[in-house]
């Protein structure tokens, strides 16, 4: 059986052949692994990998499985079984809207309607679990609407500030 898994930004092809009892062999690129496994509970898996004992802990979530191994957290996704729905832009591109990552309270709004903002400019400060977090402008643009004020309670998905994106060419046009 073949899988294409994704961990961080890396794609890992795994070929697994189930053998007698709870044993199997796996191949990742040119690396061979002899496996013996015991499922302890829904969240606990004991593996013998090439004779070496490893305890692994797993939990399913909407993006695949979270795997804890020797104190490290691996978010593993099956590339051939990705969650449906629009793909979220993440990683180096960052978020595309000004929205809190969790339920929070607005502490300060640093922009007004009509302001021109640079990518990465501080737009709104929110507080969650007693920590202040600054939300940044996702791109260069003009603030077309501020939807919140200080001490408003906000949820992930709420767009706190609408920003109309300006591409670099448009700026040149505007300035010329």
């Amino acid at each position: 059986m073949e899988y294409r898994l994704k961990i961080q930004e890396e794609t890992i092809p795994v070929e697994i052949n189930s053998k007698e009892g709870n044993t199997a062999t796996a191949t990742i690129e040119n690396r061979e692994y002899d496996l013996k496994y015991t499922l302890i509970s829904d969240n606990e898996l004991h593996l013998m990998v090439n004779g070496k004992s490893v305890n692994v802990y797993l939990a399913k979530n909407k993006n695949g499985k979270t795997i804890l191994l020797n104190g490290r957290t691996y978010q593993v996704q099956d590339m051939d079984n990705l969650p449906k729905g629009p793909k979220k832009k993440k990683g180096i591109d960052g978020p595309t809207t000004v929205t809190p990552p969790m339920p929070a309270v607005v502490i300060a709004v640093n922009v007004n309607e009509g302001d021109r903002v640079e990518k990465g400019q501080k737009v709104v400060v929110v507080s969650a679990m007693k920590m202040e977090t600054t939300l940044l402008a996702p791109y260069k643009g003009i603030v077309i609407r501020v939807n919140v004020k200080e001490s408003d309670k906000v949820m992930p998905g709420d767009i706190l500030v609408d920003i109309d994106e300006i591409k670099d060419e448009e700026i040149n046009e505007l300035e010329n």
């Binding site: 795994v14 697994i16 199997a24 496994y37 898996l45 593996l47 957290t73 990552p101 969650a128 679990m129």
Partner: protein
């Protein structure tokens, strides 16, 4: 001794107090909000009183409701834990007025020491060295800038009502002064209801060393050694240890004596902590006295064997300190790591939610003061601390090794924790050498990234889990008998 006390707090610290009460045969009353209906302190206490909605002002910060709960349950005393009302002098005063014992110092000491300016003045009077800076609050940014120039940049803006790293800003140059003052003041106003600020000189390479003190109502004051708390992120301690590797026995004795003098200058009673900054030349300056049980108190308990909560209860009940300064001896080395619900790979943003699976590390010399369990929903409304993992070993090097092992065996699924980040700090060379300063994290770990070097094994685990789930459907991966260690561990012998 008290027959029954109320604990005006939640989570791990409420449980910590309940545990000692159980040992002493004291009945405990927990209070809880909507979010904490199934919290561990509610499940572990003898009685529990619902006091309001999840909003802290409606529950854990609501003095009227907590006093009413204490009266309704005939509680003789209130333990405030840390945070919430622990350093609120009005709460202590109200307890005094209502004839309920506040397990902590008197309201006057809390008020004096809670105001950083008053406490600085008290210390100057008591010949305790304080950090250079202002000894009065200042609202005028220009005056702040002028004074900062005199003392020398960088300076640290602080809220007079401060604590827990809130309302603090580092200012490196006059240009940064205005914005730093505004945001520090705003954060302080939000956190403490008081936006007044001042500044102290900021030492870029200094250590944060604090002394635990105990003082009874008979005027006996002793210190219970130091804690090294230099490893901080955003001015919040994350790793604490004792003893501090930098202290010589002479310096320890000197600082301890000053800590006792500081407590006496403030008329302090009960358990408290005197915080110092120690600069590169081993000059030390008074920072503040925390008028409560510290989050990091367990490391002191580990090396001395003293139960600080028991001491607090004895002192509050009017008993004389049974310990003398010469009785206080530390043995071995202890380290604490704070485990928060936060995502180190995402700028340490809080990561609340349901804990799907939790397995605590075990073994000799390992202690985990934990406020959560498998199935518990970590609420968004409160401080994101889950537990404090503490180890005790013969030497510092052994304590580090033990902590690394314990962290690797600490399993929390469902929310993100900084365990991997803490591992990297503990395994780093500067930490193992004891080169710890308050700028340690900024200097060595500001561009920290997840170190995922066992991706193959993680991938294999994913696939094997799929395989097992498929096999379970086909009924041949696991037997139908219960999954006990006896049929899952394979062959073994005694």
């Amino acid at each position: 001794m008290f027959k029954k006390i109320l604990i005006a707090n939640r989570g791990e610290i409420a449980l910590r107090v309940i545990n000692t009460c159980k040992e002493m045969g004291i009945q405990t009353v927990a209070v809880y909000s909507d979010a904490d209906e199934k919290a561990i302190h509610v499940l572990s206490s003898d009685e529990a009183v619902w006091i309001g909605s999840s909003e802290p002002l409606e529950s854990y910060l609501n003095i009227d409701k907590i006093i009413k709960a204490a009266k309704d349950t005939n509680s003789e005393a209130i333990h405030p834990g840390y945070g919430f009302l622990a350093e609120n002098y009005e709460f202590a005063k109200r307890c005094e007025k209502e004839g309920i014992v506040f397990i902590g110092p008197g309201s006057k000491a809390i008020k004096d020491l809670g105001d950083k300016i008053t406490s600085r003045k008290l210390m100057v009077k008591g010949n305790v060295p304080v950090t250079p800076g202002l000894t009065s609050t200042e609202a005028d940014v220009d005056v702040m800038a002028k004074e900062a120039k005199r003392v020398g940049y960088p300076v640290l803006i602080k809220a007079t009502a401060g604590g827990g790293g809130k309302g603090i800003r580092i200012v490196n140059s006059p240009e940064e002064m205005a914005e730093a003052c505004a945001s520090a003041s705003r954060e302080a106003l939000n956190a403490f209801g008081n936006g007044e600020i001042y500044f102290e000189k900021f030492f870029t390479e200094a250590r944060h060393i604090e002394f635990q003190i105990l003082a009874d109502t008979f005027g006996n004051t002793i210190h219970i050694l130091e804690r090294e708390c230099s490893i901080q992120r955003r001015h919040q301690k994350i790793i604490e240890e004792t003893p501090a590797s930098v202290l010589t026995p002479e310096l320890r004795e000197k600082m301890g004596a000053v800590a006792v003098a500081a407590a006496k200058a403030a008329g302090y009673v009960n358990a408290g902590t005197v915080e110092f900054l120690l600069d590169a030349e081993n000059n030390f300056y008074f920072l503040e006295i925390n008028t409560r049980l510290q989050v990091e108190h367990p490391v002191t308990e580990m090396i001395t064997g003293i139960d600080l909560v028991r001491q607090q209860l004895e002192i509050a009940a009017g008993n004389k300190l049974s310990l003398k300064q010469e009785d206080i001896m530390g043995r071995g080395h202890s380290i604490e790591c704070r485990i928060y619900a936060e995502d180190p790979a995402n700028n340490f943003f809080p990561s609340p939610g349901k804990i799907e699976f939790l397995k605590e590390p075990k073994g000799p010399g390992i202690r985990n003061d934990c406020g959560a369990y498998s199935g518990f929903d970590v609420p968004v409304d409160y401080d994101p601390i889950i537990s404090k993992l503490v180890v005790h070993a013969q030497t510092r090097a052994q304590a580090i090794d033990k902590m690394i092992k314990a962290l690797k065996e600490y399993i929390i699924l469902g929310i993100r924790t900084p365990i991997d980040f803490l591992l990297d700090v503990l395994m780093s060379e500067p930490f193992s050498k004891g080169d710890v300063f308050t700028n340690f994290i900024e200097t060595h770990f500001s561009d920290w990234e997840e170190n995922l070097n066992e991706k193959d094994i993680a991938a294999i685990a994913y696939v094997v889990d799929e395989l097992c789930n498929r096999k379970i459907k086909a009924d041949d991966c696991v037997s139908h008998t219960a999954q006990t260690p006896f049929n899952t561990l394979g062959n073994w012998r005694l």
